[in-house]
Symmetry: C2
Subunit: 326 residues, 2 copies
């Protein structure tokens, strides 16, 4: 920078202003600086500028799992929502391991990111608040009680209800639910399921799995082998699980939806594929990302008040897996 200043015959401060394209530089000096910068192959060290300016223009984003394309959708929404704001995104993957997640958040904070966006945080709000140290944060797909932390999610309880209503409407009475292991803080879909089942006077039937295709398949195979009475319909926590369940059923030569109807949740791309035809509850993943981005920008700009929760309405997408006519 020193060199560029000398070469262009100006002061370092001026070079700094030009590099951040400040409006208060004369066009002549500006081009002079730009030219010598190009000539010397200079580009500013952003570490230094961040340190000095206390702004990083970077948002840390944590994803639960890159294998679930719902996070790719959220990513798309985030980058659309951030477009033109001059912020960049730094991604980390938590893998549903609270230790890894907190480590990632801490790392973001130590790097002084302007904000942290969590898409799939499975830890506690206390740990999060401690790691955050006041850094603005918005949580996607979950409602978290912590001050200064906004939540953006789809009404998961409602999703559970929607699924059951749909299946009951189709005449099903033995409807099972494959949720994700008890310990994960994503229970609203199950609550919705349980609530709706009760409303209809039906006996709930729960099976625990993780949130993967493989997990769903393994759990369902085990279930089918157990000799337990087979449900006529299954609602799963997410689409990956639903696909795993479908695989298990297919492997046992059971027809879908003839023998068992399936309803997933998330509405990932593959669910919509004619090859899969999975009925699913759309949670507007892309929009979640976009809304979260806006929320974060507001919070960084200081125009946001106390922590808010934004909840989107889920939508049922009927496909072959629950309705042969679809």
């Amino acid at each position: 920078m020193e060199d560029v200043a000398r070469e262009a015959g100006v002061s370092r401060a001026l070079v700094s202003l030009v590099m951040r394209d400040s409006p208060k530089v004369s066009p002549a000096k500006r081009t002079a600086v730009l030219e010598s910068a190009a000539a010397l192959g200079y580009s500013p060290n952003r570490l230094a500028s961040r340190l000095a300016s206390h702004r990083t223009h970077t948002l840390g984003v944590l994803f639960l799992d890159l294998h679930n394309s719902v996070f790719a959708d959220i990513y798309d929404g985030l980058s659309a929502g951030l477009a033109g704001s001059g912020n960049q995104v730094m991604v980390a993957v938590g893998s549903a391991d609270p230790r890894t997640e907190i480590e990632a958040v801490r790392s973001f904070v130590d790097l002084r990111v302007d904000g942290v966006i969590l898409a799939g945080y499975t830890g506690t709000s206390e740990d999060l608040a401690a790691a955050l140290r006041g850094t603005p944060c918005v949580v996607i797909t979950r409602e978290l009680e912590a001050d200064g932390v906004d939540s953006v999610l789809t009404d998961d309880f409602r999703s559970g209800v929607l699924a059951v209503e749909h299946l009951v409407g189709l005449g099903h009475r033995r409807i099972a639910h494959v949720d994700i292991s008890d310990w994960l803080p994503y229970t609203a879909r199950r609550e919705g399921y349980l609530h709706a089942m009760k409303e209809h006077g039906l006996a709930p039937q729960l099976v625990h799995s993780d949130m993967t295709e493989r997990g769903g398949r393994a759990v369902m195979e085990q279930f089918l082998d157990s000799g337990a009475e087979r449900p006529t319909a299954i609602f799963t926590h997410n689409d990956l699980t639903a696909i795993g369940v479908m695989e298990a059923l297919t492997a046992r030569r059971l027809s879908i939806p003839g023998d068992v109807a399936i309803v997933g949740c998330d509405n990932i791309e593959f669910a919509a594929s004619p090859l899969i035809g999975l009925t699913s509850i759309y949670q507007h993943a892309r929009e979640l990302g976009q809304v979260a981005a806006r929320a974060m920008l507001d919070r960084i700009a200081g125009t946001a008040g106390p922590a808010t929760t934004r909840k989107l309405e889920p939508a049922l997408m009927v496909r072959r897996s629950s309705d042969p006519a679809a």
Copy 2:
């Protein structure tokens, strides 16, 4: 840091050493420092430490597309390969847009990452070299001629050959190939296809698409409507495209592999799903990530010599889409 030092009754330098857990600190002082750090809620500003130490312990990783799970596999390999090395990863997504890609690389370099790993770079090696300014780099899934840039990939030419040999072995003679638009620097699979077709004295038939499921589907629908002679087998550039092609065929009530056999490439998770049953060429995505991580660590450590290329052997995974018996 000042405060912590005072509180613990030591110098700032000592605090610094403790924070980086250097071995040359007495246990007594160490715990004293740690305690007062905890008491004061201190954690080091890594921006500052990076600036001062000229090491960021961060690798910038660029992915082509988060919607293609092959990149999730590569990510897994990378993080496995980096585990324990004390490096963290910063992810960006290029979306097959050279401008976005170069912007991301430049951003990494301006942040002084220790190295850049590119999984799906579609630009030129000149642009890359310019953006890199000497930052160590390893490119995955592609062979790039630029000094100091290592390449880690699967032998794509061979993949094309494998696909054709497999189909020819099954008796097919009209074998089409859906590649990705001409301008993308990923032509080896097509070259392999063309070469093998020629070897067998067969006439190649090329269809251009992008690398997405939707693209594959659209292109194939258009192709089927065009009235062109239908091939009995199709080899696609990647699995996403293959799935799109399968969707188009299914929508036209054509059977797979009865009317048309399909072979994809990448061997993503869904290809292996019994619901899809797509024959594919395994490119060892996870291993690519792991090998790339090692290559990068070597390069950073300075133990790597001139630019090298590591090429893995692809493997044919036969499934239902090409062989009903499978």
